[in-house]
Structures are given as structure tokens and as C-alpha cells.
């Protein structure tokens, strides 16, 4: 079978599942068993999509790695980029590992809770107490379970211990490093990058916004009213700006934007059908 046909078939059947699941009434979905498998199928599709995460990494390392190895222009900055990348990866894995340790402890407490709920013999009760004594958060409570009934109704003891483990504040250099990269690099630099736009929009307002036509005048008037309607200073001058702004947003703006949204929505639907039926050729590498 032609490779292109195989690709088209897979594309079609992947989309068909969700279209069928949407179109069929709930009762029929239940009858044919789609409801029972829906979560697993969705996780399957999610996993397929998520597996693409490595593509970016491979490209990043290839491009910047080669710059460093061959000492090309900008090699130092490539080194900085890869250092940032690997340090974040290292600390994020470290943070994950630390969290896993506490969650494993919480899970073993949860397991004992389940065991306690179904304990039926005194032998097993003793076994439960023995296991509880191995866990620091439960050690002191083990002897409070005198009878089988005590054990069966002891959920709260285990839940409290589990909460204690999960809420435990652990400090380590790994956590410090992870916090530093998040709060000292990722958040502030990201915010600063975007905030540059504030300067540019001010410069553009002075240089580029010329009110030369009726369209530009209408745009300017609407912009001024919207800004004045939610600025404390202008509202101190005249409170009437606020209802005008709200009316402008609720009536003419909503109507005009709904027109845009409906148009874009219909276009999106057409595009979805074109993708589903593989009419869009670009993705499949078909030569012109």
C-alpha cells in the first residue's frame, strides 16, 4: 500500500473516533462500550502527542552543540543557553525525585490504611502495628489500636499522618536551585522580555498612530473612551466615562467581535474537515 494512503487512513481514523464519540447519543456510546474505553484511548492520544517533547531538545542540542564544538560565532551564548537548559533539567529532575520520596512514604501510609480497614484477625492486627511502628508519623499511634474494630475505623489516623508527610517542609540545595531558576531567572526574565513591549507601544503611539481618516478617528475615539472608562484619574474628572466604556464593550464591540468570531469559527471548521480528510497537502509532504 502506498505510504501516503496509509498516512491518510491513520489521520482519518484518528479523527473518526472523536467525531463518532461526539455524534452518537450517550446511550449508544454506553452500549458499544466507548464510554468505558474513552479515558484510556484519550491517554493513548495524549501520550502520542507528548512523545514529541524530545524533538525540540534534539534540535536545540544539535544546533547549539555544533556552534560550541566548531567555535562558530555566538558559541559563548550557545554555551549559556545549554547551561541554562541542563541546569533546569537537572534541578527539575532533582525536585521531582525529592517529591517522589515523600509521596512514596505517603503511599505506604495509604496502603496501611487500606490494610487496617480490612484487618480481620488479631495476627494481622499485630502485623499492622508492627508496620506502623516502622513509620515515624504512625509510631506513637500504633498502640492506640487495641481491637480489630479500632483498626477498621482508624482511617483518620492514617489520613493525618499522610497529610503530615505531604505538607512536610523539606529544604535542600536541589529545591533551592529549582526555586532560584524559577523565581530568579524564568519568571523575571520572561516578564521583562514582554514588558519591553510597553516601551515600544508608547513609541508607536507617538510615531505611528495618525488620525487621518474617519476610520482612524473612530478607532481613536473608542480607544480613548475605553481607557478613560477604567482609569482612576479620568473617573475623578467625570464618572460618566465608566458607563460609556461598559456600553461600548457590551454592545458595539461585542456585536462586531461576534461577527469576527463566527467568521473565524466557520473557517476553523472548514480547516478541520480539510485536515481530517487529508485535503491539506503540506503536512504529508506531497510534492507539488
Amino acid at each position: 500500500m502506498n505510504k501516503e494512503i496509509i498516512i491518510r487512513l491513520f489521520t482519518f481514523f484518528a479523527g473518526l473516533y472523536f467525531v463518532v464519540e461526539f455524534i452518537l447519543p450517550k446511550e449508544i456510546n454506553e452500549e458499544i462500550g466507548l464510554v468505558n474505553i474513552h479515558e484510556s484511548v484519550s491517554y493513548g492520544f495524549l501520550a502520542i502527542g507528548a512523545m514529541a517533547f524530545g524533538l525540540g531538545i534534539i534540535n536545540l542540542i544539535r544546533i547549539h552543540g555544533s556552534k560550541i564544538i566548531f567555535l562558530q560565532k555566538g558559541a559563548f551564548y550557545s554555551l549559556v543557553l545549554l547551561l541554562g537548559f541542563f541546569s533546569m533539567t537537572f534541578f527539575a529532575i532533582g525536585d521531582w525525585k525529592l517529591n517522589m520520596e515523600s509521596s512514596k512514604r505517603a503511599a505506604s501510609i495509604g496502603l496501611l490504611q487500606k490494610f487496617a480497614e480490612k484487618v480481620e484477625t488479631t495476627d494481622k492486627l499485630e502485623l499492622l502495628k508492627l508496620e506502623m511502628k516502622k513509620i515515624p508519623e504512625l509510631r506513637d499511634r500504633a498502640d492506640s489500636l487495641a481491637t480489630l474494630e479500632d483498626a477498621n475505623k482508624s482511617s483518620i489516623i492514617f489520613q493525618e499522618a499522610s497529610q503530615k508527610v505531604v505538607n512536610e517542609e523539606t529544604s535542600s540545595w536541589i529545591k533551592d536551585g529549582y526555586n532560584f531558576l524559577n523565581k530568579g531567572v524564568f519568571v523575571p526574565l520572561g516578564a521583562a522580555m514582554f514588558s519591553l513591549l510597553g516601551f515600544y507601544i508608547a513609541a508607536a503611539a507617538y510615531r505611528a498612530f495618525r488620525v487621518k481618516s474617519l476610520e482612524a478617528s473612530l478607532m481613536m475615539i473608542a480607544a480613548v473612551l475605553v481607557v478613560c472608562g477604567q482609569t482612576s484619574f479620568t473617573l475623578m474628572i467625570w464618572e460618566g466615562f465608566s458607563p460609556i466604556r461598559n456600553w461600548l464593550l457590551q454592545v458595539p464591540n461585542s456585536a462586531a467581535f461576534r461577527g469576527i468570531a463566527i467568521g473565524a469559527g466557520v473557517a476553523g471548521l472548514v480547516l478541520a474537515f480539510r485536515m481530517w480528510f487529508s485535503i491539506e497537502s503540506g503536512s504529508f509532504g506531497r510534492k507539488k
Binding site: 473516533y17 512523545m51 541542563f86 533546569m88 494481622k124 520572561g190 475615539i221 481607557v227 456585536a255
Partner: protein, 222 residues
């Protein structure tokens, strides 16, 4: 450590702002650092929050627990073996690096496009039907002139804007051209609201950064 974080964040912010003077090594250093750190976050989060707990973990039976008496608390579910299939399909993405089988990467991209398309068909109806229904407003509201006027303006604006978008052909008729021109003017009112809002959004980002520099950073340094 807290202070060091704040100080470094402030230096980084100033470095980014230095781009306003001109591009310089100080800016480029922090720009590349940011890109590297941001790129490092996604893969780990994808594995930590989705692939390991929901796919790989169940597949390898990582969560199987045994009670103190030896009984298995949650036996292995053999249906989980089926997770091998999406993982294999996911590996096809990497076929792009092997010329002989690179078509397999297009296969898995096709699957992703297919399910996105299937989902968006459903999404269109869920989003747009209430939008369309919400546009049928009564032009005359008994006892409320204000609502009648507002509804009329709403419906006329909507129709004229849609006319402007959909009827893009050239015509000689005054009604056609007039309707399109009015639709265009009404769109400008909408874009004006957008412009006003955009100014606010961009300035808000700047306000936050300057507040950080003037407040937390200044206090941390002095």
C-alpha cells in the same frame, strides 16, 4: 538564597531593559539564559505530569503495592500493556532523523492532526451554537427603550460586520458598498476598544517589572 534570587532577578531585568539602548552582550547573555531555562522546563514536566504517572507507570506496574501479609493490594491490569502502542507511535516522531523511515514521522503527525480535527468539529458546535443563539435578540423589548435600542444596535452591527467579511466581492450597488463601508466603520470601533485594551495590557507588564525593581529589588540591595 532568597536575597540572591531577588538580586539576580533584578540584574536580569535591567539587562533585558538595556536592549532599549541597543543590543549588547549583557542583554544577549540573559536572553540566552532565559531561553535555555524555559526550554528545560517542558520536557521534564511532560514526563513528570503525564507520561510517567499515567502511561509508563501503569505499563511497568510501578504502582503495584503489597499488603504486609503478602496480598497484592492492586494487581497488575494487563490492559495497560496496550499503552505500548501509543508509545511506539510516539517514537515515530524521531524517525524524522532517519531518512529511510522518515515518512513514519508524517504518519504520527497525521494522527495528531486527525484527532485535533475530530475534536475541533465538536468544539465548534459547543462554542458557536450559544454564540449564534445569543445573537437572536428581541429588537423591541416592551417597557425598556434602552434595551430595544441596544439590541437593535447589536443586531445591525453584527449583520453589517458579517456582511463585510463574507461579501468580499466587488459590486456597483450603492447598498452593497454602503453596507460594507458601514461594517468597516463599526469594525474600527471594535479595533479601537482593542487598541485601548492593548495599551493597558502592555503597560501592566511594565508596571509589574518597575514595581519589582523599585520595591523588592531595591530593598534587597540596600
Amino acid at each position: 538564597m532568597e536575597t540572591a534570587t531577588v538580586v539576580f532577578a533584578g540584574i536580569g531585568t535591567l539587562a533585558i531593559f538595556s536592549f532599549l539602548i541597543k543590543e549588547n552582550p549583557f542583554y544577549r547573555f540573559f536572553e540566552h539564559l532565559f531561553i535555555g531555562v524555559a526550554a528545560g522546563l517542558l520536557p521534564i514536566l511532560t514526563i513528570r505530569n503525564l507520561l510517567y504517572p499515567n502511561v509508563i507507570g501503569p505499563l511497568i506496574g510501578a504502582d503495584i503495592q503489597v499488603f504486609p501479609d503478602g496480598e497484592i493490594a492492586n494487581p497488575y491490569n494487563y490492559w495497560n500493556l496496550l499503552f505500548i502502542i501509543p508509545l511506539i507511535f510516539g517514537l515515530f516522531y524521531y524517525a524524522v532523523f532517519i531518512p529511510k523511515v522518515s515518512w513514519l514521522s508524517r504518519l504520527v503527525i497525521g494522527i495528531s492532526l486527525g484527532y485535533s480535527a475530530g475534536l475541533s468539529i465538536k468544539g465548534f458546535f459547543a462554542e458557536m451554537i450559544p454564540q449564534v443563539l445569543g445573537s437572536f435578540k428581541p429588537l423591541v423589548v416592551p417597557g425598556s427603550i434602552g434595551d430595544s435600542v441596544n439590541n437593535s444596535i447589536f443586531v445591525i452591527t453584527l449583520l453589517l460586520v458579517m456582511y463585510y467579511f463574507f461579501c468580499t466581492f466587488k459590486g456597483e450597488s450603492t447598498a452593497h458598498n454602503g453596507a460594507r463601508y458601514t461594517g468597516r466603520l463599526l469594525l474600527m470601533v471594535c479595533f479601537g476598544a482593542f487598541f485601548g485594551s492593548t495599551v493597558m495590557a502592555r503597560m501592566a507588564l511594565l508596571v509589574e517589572r518597575i514595581q519589582f525593581l523599585v520595591g523588592e529589588w531595591w530593598t534587597a540591595i540596600f
